[in-house]
Amino acid sequence: MPDGASPILEVQGLQTVFRTRGGDIHAVNSVDFHLQPGELLGVVGESGSGKSVTMMSLIGLLPSPPAEVRAGTVRFGGDDLLRMPARQLRDIRGARIGFVFQDPMTSLNPVFPVGFQIMEPLRKHMGLDRAAARRRAQELLELVGIPDAARRLGDFPHQFSGGMRQRVMIAMALACDPEVLIADEPTTALDVTIQAQILELMKDLRERLGMAVIWITHDLGVIAGIADRVMVMYGGQVVEQAPVRALFARPQHPYTRALLQTVPHVTGARAERLKVIEGQPPVLSGPPRACPFRARCAHAFETCARANPARVAVGPDHDAACFWDVDRGAPRHV
């Protein structure tokens, strides 16, 4: 990972609220993170922790209303994506930032052949003519490992299996050679054997194309296999951030620790009893005034109910948002 280089994407103080009839939902609270050129940033957290909303906020994909991006800056190149005319943002989205979502059926249009859907952005954003766009579309399908690509350009999404559709989605996201690829749980709906194919493809594509990737997942195994750096989200906040090895070897936030202890493995020792994280994730009905994890935290003490911990450095390029020092077993000095 090219360390020290300036980030390709830098998010600061991002805050997103949904205004619903049942009241406001504070889905994303003061989220800061950055993405270095060429790196793969893994984002983990349970469902509802704000992973998708964070990424959708950056690129203006949330429906408003009910969503309201209330604060923050998103530096991409020299621009702030949050303060950019809608048209310009649309162009960036199609060309310089690519996406892959969990369910390819929601992003592929069922009534058009996939070839047409890949060619569209090529013609629009890269100004390719029909023949050139077609050649490139075929090349892309070959790149993501779809056999018999030339013929399959004419097929409709339902004619592909789940794994193949996800490959098509990746091909579409890569169509214009994006600098950043955002993948939101792209393998969650797939079988492990197909997931293994996609992860292998991803490693290969990164070697060949060198783009930076944000990979959202709730699967710690996937993170361990592909991420350079990891950001852990809980209750709409980033609670820990570290290089992948450090995160697994020395997790510093009680949530990350508990999460790592709760998952069973297919190899190695087998525990007779699973460790659990008691309780449930928080309801994000108000701005956070306390630690979002406190109701489930084994280390919670008075301070945790009085203030929301800020992220503090706990190691090289490693920070955690917690008042407790898990290594020393005492409140953290700040």
Binding site: E46, G162, I194, L199, H265, V266, T267, R270
Partner: protein
């Protein structure tokens, strides 16, 4: 293979499945004529012992749910034998099944979809009591409270509706309902798949506690191989409507024999970056063939990294290369003499009597 071959030869198993088939007809054309069949379950045999958890794993569409539902006779099965406590239920009609239903229950994947949104928790849990018992109102209420306690639901929530609960709590409601009639055998069909990682462990521990407390026997269907390793005593691996390997947990995870099981296990990413950096994943090519049109020979031959010429012609028989460890693969078939056109092993691979 003998009657006892799929078991470990201890006392009579609680559940005995022999050559179970569940085919769904495919209709086409204006006359809706029958043009073929989806062979969702195509000759499955195994035993489940009392108090045991048998894990059933495999890729999406391989027939796990169909198998579980067929065993509970939620379908009229195509053929085969299902014995529960020695009692043959494979051929019974729905009327004859009704008094036997309380013994066997199901917990579903999606707690949201499987609970009636217009019924209170108390009514949902009490419904089987209404149908199958003559308890008084007060007795029913006591039983409902008892069940709520057993699964860790607060009694004060008895009059709430499913949408007022989290996913994990809804799954507890589903489990309480399944327990209402004191079943012996429960098919758990992906009971944790819809839950968050941090909630999955809560539900799995609950299932284990209930098993100890009430002596339950589980068929635990899941595509989560790590969780199955945690909860199961023995594991059956399905591929395209067949069980391809069946073994005690440690034997299956420690030394899988079937190339499909090997690929499946190697595909699971481990939450350990150092291990992942050194692990070699077997990457299978392509997708699972359609169960309406399974390949000739071994079901797995279109994707198997070790396929041999014989695999494309002859369906491998289930063997027992290690005591209690079964696999259907020619690699573990020491005395197979490959003769062109041989049909001996072709038809009914799981029947030797």
């Amino acid at each position: 293979m003998s009657e006892t071959a799929m078991s470990d030869r201890s006392p009579r198993p609680l559940v005995e499945i022999r050559d179970l088939r569940m085919h769904f007809p495919i209709h086409a054309g204006v006359l809706r004529r029958r043009v073929g069949a989806v062979r969702a379950v195509d000759g499955v045999s195994f035993d489940i012992h009392e108090g045991e958890t048998l894990g059933l794993v495999g890729e999406s569409g391989c027939g796990k749910s169909t198998c579980g539902r067929a065993i509970l006779r939620l379908y009229d099965i195509t053929s085969g034998s299902i014995r529960i406590e020695g009692d043959e239920i494979g051929t019974l009609g729905q009327d004859a099944l009704r008094p036997r239903r309380p013994r066997m229950q199901m917990v579903f994947q999606d707690p949201q979809a499987s609970l009636n949104p217009r019924m209170t928790v108390a009514r949902i849990i009490g419904e089987p009591l209404d149908e199958h018992t003559t308890l008084s109102r007060a007795e029913k209420r006591d039983r409902i409270y008892e069940l709520m306690d057993a699964v860790g639901l607060n009694r004060n929530f008895a009059n709430r509706y499913p949408h007022q609960f989290s996913g994990g709590q809804r799954q507890r409601i589903g489990i309480a309902r399944a327990l209402a009639l004191n079943p012996k055998f429960i098919v758990c069909d992906e009971p944790i798949a819809a839950l968050d990682v941090s909630i999955q462990a809560q539900v799995v521990n609950l299932l284990e506690d209930l098993q100890d407390r009430f002596g339950l026997t589980y068929l635990f269907i899941s595509h989560d191989l790590s969780m199955v390793r945690h909860i199961a005593d023995r594991v059956a691996v399905m591929y395209l409507g067949r069980v391809v390997e069946l073994a005690p947990r440690d034997s299956l995870y420690g030394a899988p024999l079937h190339p499909y099981t090997q690929a499946l296990l190697s595909a699971v990413p481990e939450p350990d970056p150092d291990l992942e950096a050194s692990r070699r994943h077997i990457i299978l090519k392509g997708d699972v063939p359609s169960p309406a049109n399974p390949p000739e020979g071994c079901n797995f031959c279109t994707r198997c990294p070790q396929a041999m010429p014989i695999c494309h012609r002859i369906d491998p028989e289930m063997r027992e290369p290690r005591p209690g460890h079964f696999a259907a693969c020619h690699l573990h078939d020491p005395d197979h003499i490959p003769t062109a056109g041989s049909t001996a092993a072709n038809d009914q691979p799981q029947q030797g009597e």
